[in-house]
Symmetry: C2
């Protein structure tokens, strides 16, 4: 009754980081045979007894000492991928957010190189990974506007200007500084710290932090986060 499928199941990870006013994605260089090299999303086959998300975390640990602030299933790609020419592979993609300023990438091994790429300087990738990445960026953009996940790309304590820049950069929009600050602060889940940033130039700025407990509290009372711009 049950036909043999011969379909393999893999996970792929889109790890986003934000540094120097740019959105980055983590890629690895895979070697196929002796000459063929391709940049690709980190990922690999799921082990028989391992959950999908555990598989992603395991694969990532092999390449980085990554501390994921956020991870979510993105989409399952499986219609026409043939990793090697014999087997169909279905890939469950997850995307994740990290504080790139605090992320240690493991040294390259013989087998693999690991590197951050600016999102608009990503080369042609293996398999359908450019498509997967595109979908991840779309999701990130959308989610940024209705859930407070921008904080997961920043250090625990951050400058308002960093947050503002993050939104401008990723959403590719201009934002009025004053209105942005007013709106975010009006929510009440961003707290001022007493620490001042150690930037070299200009007036020193206070660091802020996101209070997740207050946020969750508001959510329970029917609050809905939203950042929109003309």
């Amino acid at each position: 009754m049950e036909n043999f499928q011969n379909i393999r199941i893999a996970v792929d990870a889109i790890v986003f980081g934000y540094k120097n006013n740019n959105l980055y994605v983590l890629l690895i260089e895979q070697k196929f045979g002796s000459a063929e090299k391709y940049w690709a999303l980190p990922g690999g086959l799921v082990k028989p007894e391992e959950s999908l998300s555990d598989a992603v975390i395991r694969e990532l640990r092999e390449e980085t000492n990554v501390q994921l602030n956020f991870m979510e299933q993105l989409y399952t790609f499986g219609d026409d991928i043939k990793r090697d020419s014999r087997n169909r592979v279905i890939s469950v993609a997850y995307y994740a957010l990290v504080d790139a300023s605090n992320l240690e990438i493991k040294a390259d091994t013989d087998a693999e190189k690991v590197q951050w790429f600016k999102i608009d300087e990503v080369p042609s990738l293996a398999f359908d990974h450019n498509l997967i990445l595109k979908k991840a960026v779309e999701r990130l953009k959308a989610k940024l506007t209705y859930e407070p996940i921008g904080f997961d790309l920043l250090p625990k304590e951050f400058l308002f200007s960093e947050l503002e820049n993050l939104y401008c950069t990723i959403l590719e929009k201009e934002i009025d500084r004053r209105n942005f600050r007013k709106k975010i602060l009006s929510y009440g889940f961003i707290e001022e710290t007493e620490i001042f940033s150690a930037v070299k130039t200009g007036r020193p700025a206070k660091l802020f932090k996101f209070n997740k407990l207050k946020y969750n509290d508001l959510i329970e009372r029917g609050f809905h986060f939203e950042i929109k711009f003309a």
Copy 2:
């Protein structure tokens, strides 16, 4: 290098319909062995050469002459499902919307019964299907507010009161008729027809239809659909 996985891949479908001011979901009764019967979401194993969405459509055709107005991948469930005790099964769930007033359910066979269930009268289902259904309902609710998919649950031509009721019912909110109508009509992609409904009581009402071309046109110009209520 590649370990043998022994993981099977299946699809499951959450088919939503709307009739008599109620949201319904399509379930089938599966028989396990001689005595065990469970209601479950339609679905089954993916064939080796078939895309995931084709698998869903094939499975549904086996039970209904369904005309899907909308179908979208929902989520991939795969952490701890054991359909039979030997094999792990990963299930890619899709949800779909149909015009239930126009849907023919195939006659029950010896092996299976097929039936609409009101969403709040769904019994305990096989596997993790209650969880999958819950997630599908959440997604439907969310998507209803920011994409015009409500029309995919209605006949091509519908009454404003039907549309309004659909939103009230699914979102479980009260809506002001006047504001709702004003807002929807202001978008400009709903057209009045010259046909009047054949209801038995009250003032006859004009039928309306959704002009998808006009909608797509607006989208290209940066329009964003949104229905929110207090």
